[in-house]
């Protein structure tokens, strides 16, 4: 009872608020016509809900009577049963329905004040019931009601009381019903008696609640059920106190983004990735399975002291910075540890559009580069197979008379342009990739094109003339060209090997054509700066053929010609008997003999410091290959290239003109088109023909005559 009282009070608080206005309106205007009108629509709406209920309620209320504490014999107002019965019948709807049903009793009495509309039956009924309840139950609650009516003044007290009692009665009824529910029979009976009506009522209520708001697109039904779900899930303390907040939370939850269940795994951050790969560099220990001695042997020669050269280059204002240089050094160490390297050098860095290349120049120990040979064999075999396959397919097709010129064979690894093997990687710590050895054709074409590197070795080179290979081949060709042009050393640092001596040029494939001069005493730095003749090239010039060593294509051709007699003559006609041998400058030629680039010196020498010339170093900057540098402190020297990998040209690049169109067949009179004869010519021709015919006829006639004559004779 007390619980109900407390809830009652809350209701009371609401009811006066609702009721207040109508009451006030009545007192002020004293015209009830307006108020009922306004309330009637509500009634009309709720009509189906409320009006049928009295009938259904009657059995129920009668059943409830005995149990009710002070229930009057008179039938309960129609609204009661629905709240009472529904909790039992339909769990959820019940919880939702009470508000409207609670409202109706509130509204109806308001709309129809008892004194004025006493004549009306329905109002009578309704009026009467409250009064009954007043008398019956009011006593229990008088105390709580009394103070409030006071606010409205004595006149209103009765009405107020009646109102409150009505409400109170509702709750009593609820209690009754709950107590009834113990027995269950009345409730079930109620359901049985009018299931369809109850259902329609419930469905109507539900339909109303399900109406979506035009503003938010939500509906109250879902909202309340969500709220209750939330409350029941979380079971907060004093749920009733925070119900507003819960409602708010539930509404706000609509705006929080629902995370997709299919989420990407955390991507490996590039920073982390590079750190992980470079971590391996810093953790390099002793490699397993390598003999200690062997390792020592490797360590002795192969690894270059990159940091020392970087120190000198930094004085020249060239370099990659200590941090990156050290990482490169570690990467080089990794390279030398994992490959049988005789000698290794940091060649430089080539910039690309997307990534850059770090290039290492490597010389394998003798007999250890078989791997490459095998690869080549495979490649050649493949080539043969391809050609065979092509032959089979093209049997039926007419054969082209064009015979491609004999490709200039590439130089063996360890000689000429392929003296060194080059490894590249995009960043220190990433795997080193070996560049394929260069072919003369690639060098020849590379000279004719000018393309940026992308940073991906397998990128195609789209150019004219078409480049035979992808970016790795182009990169290798450019490296070969740069090396040949810019690798210089102080005069006397290298000397020709004793065996070959000055015949170096003629000896083909002479490995180790030069060697370090043990007696080299060093040059003075100022001499190195002042005279370029104190610097020499120690890498071989690449001939325009694309090789360092001249290859004469003719002798081989002759051999082939013997096999194919038919083509022999033609070829002899086409090709000159003797091709002038290309001769490049010999090894260790002073750079002072380098060709000028249109009145531009190919090298710019400089002293690194003008303030302290005592300890300065000589620095040479290549103007032919911007980005190529060399330094020497008199005894030591180093070459470095950092740039885009392009040769300098004062003129703008112009792609070569396509070659002239080949002649398809020899031009002879039978295929040359003649001019149409003019009219005069035709007439003359006709006249001539006619003349001939006439002559012939005359002759014939003469002969005939003769014959005739003969016969005659």
């Amino acid at each position: 009872m007390e619980d109900s009282a407390s809830t009652q009070q809350e209701k009371e608080n609401q009811v006066p608020a609702e009721a207040g206005q109508p009451w006030g309106g009545k007192t002020a205007a004293s015209s009830q016509s307006s108020v009922p009108e306004s309330s009637e629509p509500v009634e009309a709406k709720q009509g189906p809900d409320t009006r049928p209920q009295p009938r259904s309620s009657s059995p129920y209320s009668s059943a409830a009577d005995p149990t009710g504490p002070g229930a009057s014999p008179s039938p309960r107002p129609p609204q009661e049963p629905s709240p009472a019965a529904s909790p039992l019948a339909v769990a959820r709807q019940d919880l939702v329905i009470p508000p409207p049903s609670d409202r109706t009793p509130g509204v109806i009495p308001d709309a129809r004040p008892p004194p004025s509309d006493a004549s009306e039956q329905s109002s009578d009924q309704r009026e009467s019931t409250p009064h009954h309840t007043n008398q019956a139950e009011g006593d229990a609650f008088q105390q709580s009601q009394q103070p409030k009516p006071c606010l409205y003044g004595p006149r209103d007290v009765s009405r107020q009381n009646s109102k409150h009692k009505e409400l109170r009665f509702d709750i009593f009824q609820k209690e009754n019903s709950s107590s009834d529910s113990d027995s269950d029979q009345p409730a079930t009976r109620a359901l049985e008696t009018s299931p369809s009506e109850l259902e329609t009522a419930i469905q109507n209520a539900k339909a109303y609640l399900l109406k979506t708001s035009s503003k938010s697109g939500l509906n109250l039904y879902d909202h309340l059920s969500n709220m209750l779900t939330k409350i029941l899930d979380e079971r907060p303390e004093n749920a009733v106190d925070i119900i507003e907040n819960i409602s708010q939370d539930v509404k706000m939850a609509h705006f929080s983004k629902k995370l997709d269940t299919l989420q990407n795994e955390n991507e490996m951050l590039p920073t982390y990735e590079i750190a992980e790969t470079q971590k391996a560099l810093f953790l390099q220990g002793h490699l397993e399975g390598v003999d200690q001695e062997l390792e020592d042997e490797i360590a002795e020669n192969s690894l270059p002291n990159v940091m020392e050269s970087a120190f000198y280059f930094e004085q020249a204002g060239v370099g990659l910075g200590t941090d990156e240089t050290f990482r490169i050094l570690l990467a080089l160490k990794q390279l030398t540890d994992t490959h049988p390297v005789q000698r290794c050098r940091f060649w430089g860095k080539i910039l690309g559009l997307e990534r850059n290349y770090i290039v290492a120049e490597v010389e394998f120990r003798e007999g250890e580069d078989e791997e490459e040979v095998e690869e080549e064999d495979v490649a050649e075999e493949r080539g043969e197979r391809d050609s065979e396959a092509d032959g089979d397919q093209e049997d039926e097709l007419p054969k082209s008379f064009h015979k491609a010129p004999q490709p200039v064979p590439k130089e063996e690894s360890g000689t000429g342009a392929n003296k060194y093997v080059y490894f590249v990687c995009n960043e220190p710590g990433r795997p080193w990739l070996k560049l394929p050895s260069v072919t003369p054709a690639q060098i020849v074409i590379a000279r004719k094109i000018k393309k940026f590197f992308t940073g991906q070795l397998d990128a195609p080179i789209i150019s004219y003339p078409p480049f035979p290979g992808n970016e790795s081949n182009y990169l290798r060709a450019q490296i070969a060209r740069i090396s040949a042009g810019t690798h210089i050393s102080p005069l006397g640092f290298y000397q020709f090997g004793e065996e070959e001596g000055e015949e170096e040029e003629e000896v083909e494939g002479g490995r180790g054509g030069f060697e370090e001069n043990p007696d080299f005493e060093g040059l003075h730095v100022t001499d190195l700066v002042e005279s370029l003749s104190n610097w020499v090239h120690h890498s071989q010039h690449i001939l325009s053929q694309g090789r360092c060593h001249w290859f004469n294509p003719i002798p081989k051709n002759e051999e082939e010609e013997e096999e194919e007699d038919e083509q022999k003559e033609e070829e002899k006609v086409e090709e000159p008997d003797y091709i002038e041998q290309e001769v490049g400058p010999p090894l260790l030629t002073p750079i002072s003999e380098d060709l000028e680039i249109e009145n531009m010196p190919p090298w710019t020498p400089r002293l690194a410091s003008n303030l302290i010339p005592q300890y300065a170093i000589a620095v040479l900057r290549s103007n032919l290959w911007p980005g190529a540098y060399a330094f020497s402190n008199g005894k030591k020297f180093e070459n470095l290239y950092i740039g885009w990998g392009h040769k300098y040209s004062p003129d703008n690049y112009t792609p070569p003109v396509p070659p002239p169109v080949y002649q398809e067949y020899p031009s002879r009179p039978e295929i040359t088109e003649m001019d149409d004869p003019s009219v005069e010519e035709e007439q003359a021709f006709r006249a001539a023909q006619e003349a001939v015919l006439l002559a012939a006829e005359n002759e014939e006639t003469e002969e005939d005559e003769d014959e005739e004559d003969d016969y005659e004779e």
Binding site: L269, P270, T271, Y272, E273, I274, A275, E314, Q315, A316, G317, V318, G319, L320, G321, T322, D323, E324, L351, G352, L353, E354, R355, N356, K450, K451, F452, E598, M600, P601, T604, A608, S609, L611, R621, N623, P626, G627, Y629, I642, G643, W644, H646, Y648, P650, D651, N652, Y653, P655
Partner: protein, 297 residues
């Protein structure tokens, strides 16, 4: 060499903001060595000259927060160029040049006529401002007869230098979006709340602007300009540079640094550390435009 002209910044009327040189002003983020590693070839004349250069710049203590430095490699010597900006970042700059980073001389402002006149000169700089290039051109004399006569025109390297610097500035001087803002009254100021580009923005060319008065922006349609913020997007972005692909954009050190290299003016390197206000650029090159670019892409 009028080195006396550039003694103090007050004489020149530059504001005295905290001085920044590329490799010193951004201590902690990008060091000398970093830039060195980013710039192909040499950056400056070794530590000695770098220090001298920096000290010289300190001496005249000019410049806004935009670090601008140019070094043009000549055959004999190199030109070092340092620029100072007024508070309005887009106002004409004062340009000083030097051969040894100690004695600085003021360069005259570039004119269009200068550009036309020097455009005939090809080849490398010598490194001597008084060097005169000779150029023979055919000029018409005797209007009626149209006789062509060879006239030798002499062009001073200093003039060419001014013109080239102006071209470089206009073509490839860039800043990240948001580093500068335009006030409603016109002048452009350094945005002190610029906190750097985000990582995804830093990878896009559209986040970088040409550091010059807009040219292309005026030709854009209203629709294209609809999304632009007039206080930030008041310059041309690199996105529509011609030819397409005239910039190489690379992430270095695992996305810790973004580096833009101009392919049209090889030698210009711009760096920006994403999510920091550190950015800057330097030009170290031969002072020649890459006319072969369309063939090379």
């Amino acid at each position: 060499m009028g080195s006396g002209k550039a003694t103090t910044s007050t004489e020149l009327g530059w504001d005295l903001w905290p001085h920044t040189v590329v490799w010193r002003g951004h201590a902690g983020a990008v060091t000398t060595e970093d830039l060195q590693s980013l710039t192909p070839g040499r950056n400056w004349e070794g530590p000695e000259s770098a220090r001298a250069w920096a000290s010289a710049e300190e001496r005249w203590a000019a410049g806004g927060r935009r670090p601008a430095a140019i070094c043009i490699l000549g055959l004999v010597g190199d030109h070092f160029i340092s620029q100072g900006m007024r508070e309005d970042q887009l106002a004409p700059r004062q340009t000083l040049y030097s051969l040894n980073c100690m004695e600085w001389s003021l360069l005259p402002p570039a004119t269009e006529e200068m550009e036309v006149r020097t455009s005939v000169v090809k080849g490398r700089f010598m490194g001597d401002p008084s060097h005169e290039y000779e150029h023979t051109e055919l000029q018409e004399t005797n209007e009626g007869e149209k006789l062509l006569e060879e006239v030798v025109v002499q062009i001073k390297e200093e003039t060419r230098l001014v013109s080239i610097i102006d071209q470089i500035d206009k073509a490839v001087a860039i800043i990240p979006r948001g580093a500068l803002f335009r006030t409603p009254f016109g002048p452009t100021h350094v945005n002190r709340v610029f906190e750097g580009l985000s990582l995804s923005e830093a990878k896009k060319l559209s986040s970088y602007f040409h550091f010059r008065e807009p040219v292309e922006l005026k030709n854009k349609t209203l629709l294209e300009k609809a999304d632009l913020d007039p206080s930030l997007d008041f310059m041309d972005s690199l996105e529509h540079d011609i030819p397409k692909g005239s910039w190489s954009i690379q992430m270095e050190r695992g996305n810790a640094l973004v580096v833009l290299r101009s392919l049209l003016w090889p030698g210009l390197t711009f760096y920006h550390a994403p999510r920091t206000k550190n950015y800057g650029s330097i030009y170290v090159g031969t002072g020649e435009k890459n006319m072969d670019l369309p063939f090379m892409l």
